[in-house]
């Protein structure tokens, strides 16, 4: 059901929600940006609607809720293993359509591919999603070309327009509260963009020859293998196991998983000193093709959701969307030559 709320009403709803949920939304971390005197917009727990940032893109994605950058799997002492505690309270996560589509990608890997991941699953079951409408695309967004600009898979939606909040709610448990607080009850369709500044054309087919093409050599020098593109990506979900122990008691410790990046040294190291993809261009190829080709071969849809965060974050100004467009041309050429 759709509603319109004033700010006061929204605040009242917020305090009711907080009894049931921890609420995570894009918020502003003042002075924490990558350059001096700049802010960082990223996910965090918020306690008031005022803290929610509607008009800027979160530099980091909401995947941080489901896949923490360091997550304890279990604790060990001598001969005993104790699974880490699970979250008790449900969580309400505010995200845009592209990010909601990204959750579907994470589900595909963590729940559907191979055995279901217990740690992902137990957090996923606690998550409710509030779709934030997009009135206008940001410079680097290309969601329309990826088909991720619109989403129906939300629990609630929210749009902030001229001081008023418009919501669509699919959770019957909140009908009474929202009905009572609403300025008006009306049909609400979450806003979504139909036009973007950045456009991409996905290659229809990637010839085998492109896997070892010189096309990728341009990134050997330009890319510095910092992995930021992976860490901000809402669909990048690789991890590395890490055991650590407490220095005061060498017999106790924990096993964690931490974020891993296929762009960073060490990702493909095998015991005995071997490794794969030493060149940064090869890593770029590995990442890009996963996002637009390899994942799709398993699931039927591309992994990339077109949020443009990798373009925003790259310290070398490497553009993923530009790469895809150039790759599309190169693939066509390669196909003619094959």
């Amino acid at each position: 059901m759709g509603y319109c709320f004033t700010k006061d009403a929204m605040e009242a709803i917020w305090s009711e929600w907080e009894k049931c949920y921890d609420i995570y939304t894009p918020k502003c971390y003042h002075g924490k940006g990558r350059f001096s005197d700049t802010d960082c917009i990223r996910y965090g727990q918020v306690h008031s609607i005022d803290e929610v940032v509607f008009d800027k893109k979160a530099e980091y994605s909401p995947k941080e809720f489901l896949l923490q950058n360091a997550e304890t799997l279990f604790y060990f002492t001598e001969n005993h293993i104790q699974e880490s505690e699970k979250r008790q309270k449900e969580a309400l996560i505010f995200l845009r359509s592209c990010d909601l589509h990204a959750i579907k990608r994470l589900d595909a890997i963590y729940l559907q591919q191979g055995a279901a991941d217990n740690y992902y699953k137990r957090l996923r079951e606690k998550a409710k999603f509030v779709l934030m409408g997009c009135q206008k695309a940001f410079d680097t967004c290309f969601c329309t070309d990826m088909g991720t600009n619109q989403s129906q898979d939300y629990d609630m939606s929210i749009d902030y327009v001229d001081g008023l909040y418009f919501m669509d709610c699919k959770m019957a448990q909140w009908d009474e509260l929202l009905n009572g607080a609403a300025k008006s009850i009306q049909t609400v369709i979450p806003t979504y963009v139909t036009e973007t500044i950045t456009h991409i054309t996905l290659p229809k087919h990637i010839p085998q020859s492109m896997l070892q093409s010189d096309f990728w050599r341009q990134y050997d020098g330009r890319c510095i293998a910092c992995g930021r593109c992976n860490f901000v990506c809402p669909t990048c979900s690789c991890f590395t196991m890490q055991d650590m122990y407490y220095t005061d008691n060498g017999k106790a410790g924990e096993r964690r998983r931490v974020w891993a990046s296929c762009m960073v040294d060490g990702y493909a190291d095998v015991a005995g000193g071997g490794t794969y993809r030493k060149k940064n261009g090869e890593r770029m190829r590995y990442k890009v093709l996963h996002k637009i080709w390899d994942f799709q071969k398993r699931t039927g849809y591309p992994m990339c959701v077109g949020c443009g965060r990798c373009d925003d974050i790259c310290p070398e100004y490497i553009s993923f969307s530009h790469c895809i467009n150039e790759l599309e041309k190169a693939c066509k050429e390669a196909e003619v030559n094959e």
Binding site: A115, N118, K121, C238, A260
Partner: protein
């Protein structure tokens, strides 16, 4: 709640067979279905996990042949005595003997690559009626690196074994030269139906498969097995992915027709 797929179980070390100073076979207590070529995540809390392929399968046990080359394996070698290791698995597809039996078979293995095929070799060696000729070409760096010496003695009575070392003085018991050197002279009765398995370091697999094809083997009659970093064995951590394939889920054993198109 479902059983947690990341929590390992404790398995007692029943026996330890040293092959070389840095390569031991650990016989581990295990009950359950397992195939040669599959692997377990072996761990020592504090030091981490490492994927190790199954080198032998028996009633109530599995063999894991471990080379001391990393953080986890160093620790295993230092502290195994009278102890247990944590395991989870088995993972991966493994070798399906039905794919090869009934034909002439050539197995080419290099170094620790012998481990994952050891079960296949022993099975075929003990069931001569299941094949029309079996050749094993096994290569090691030097005499000191030769694994499974007892097995080789037995295998030499059961099949045509070409045991070779990359470097060494000439000897009656084994050859000197790379495994690829022995492929062109393979005496095959029906090359068009003969099956081949190739397991070893990446370069060795590349050259050995090329030599087999040159010798006349059909691409669809060749299988290879890959080794990669694997943190989960469950298709999540991403480290072992090559193109659209996960070595831990879709492999580690791949038909050559699939494997040849995988570019790291």
């Amino acid at each position: 709640m479902n059983e947690n797929v990341y929590v390992p179980f404790l398995s007692k070390i029943l026996n330890v067979i040293p092959h070389t100073p840095i390569e031991y076979t650990f016989r581990m207590q295990y009950q359950g279905e397992v195939k040669p070529g599959q692997f377990f995540e072996v761990s020592m809390p504090k030091y981490g996990e490492a994927p190790i392929s199954v080198s032998g399968i028996g009633d109530g046990f599995i063999d894991l042949t471990i080379r001391q080359v990393g953080k986890v394996t160093n620790e295993i070698f230092e502290h195994y005595e009278g102890n247990s290791l944590y395991l989870r698995g088995p993972y991966g597809n493994g070798f399906d003997v039905a794919d090869y039996e009934g034909n002439e078979i050539v197995i080419v293995a290099g170094g620790t690559g012998v481990s994952p095929v050891r079960g296949v070799i022993s099975y075929l060696g003990e069931h001569p009626q299941r094949h029309k000729g079996l050749t094993l070409i096994a290569g090691f760096k030097s005499d000191d690196d030769i694994l499974f010496r007892d097995d080789f003695e037995k295998w030499m009575t059961q099949m045509n074994v070409i045991l070779t070392v990359d470097k060494g003085e000439p000897s009656q018991h084994r050859h000197v030269g790379l495994v690829t050197a022995f492929i062109p002279q393979l005496d095959m009765k029906c090359i068009s139906t003969a099956k081949a398995i190739v397991v070893g370091p990446p370069a060795m697999m590349r050259f050995a498969t090329a030599a087999l094809i040159e010798r006349g083997f059909q691409e669809e009659n060749i299988w290879i097995s890959h080794e990669r970093k694997m943190c989960c064995g469950l298709g999540k951590c991403g480290h072992c992915r090559i193109n659209d394939k996960y070595v831990c889920l879709d492999g580690p054993v791949f038909p050559y027709t699939v494997g040849k198109n995988l570019i790291d």
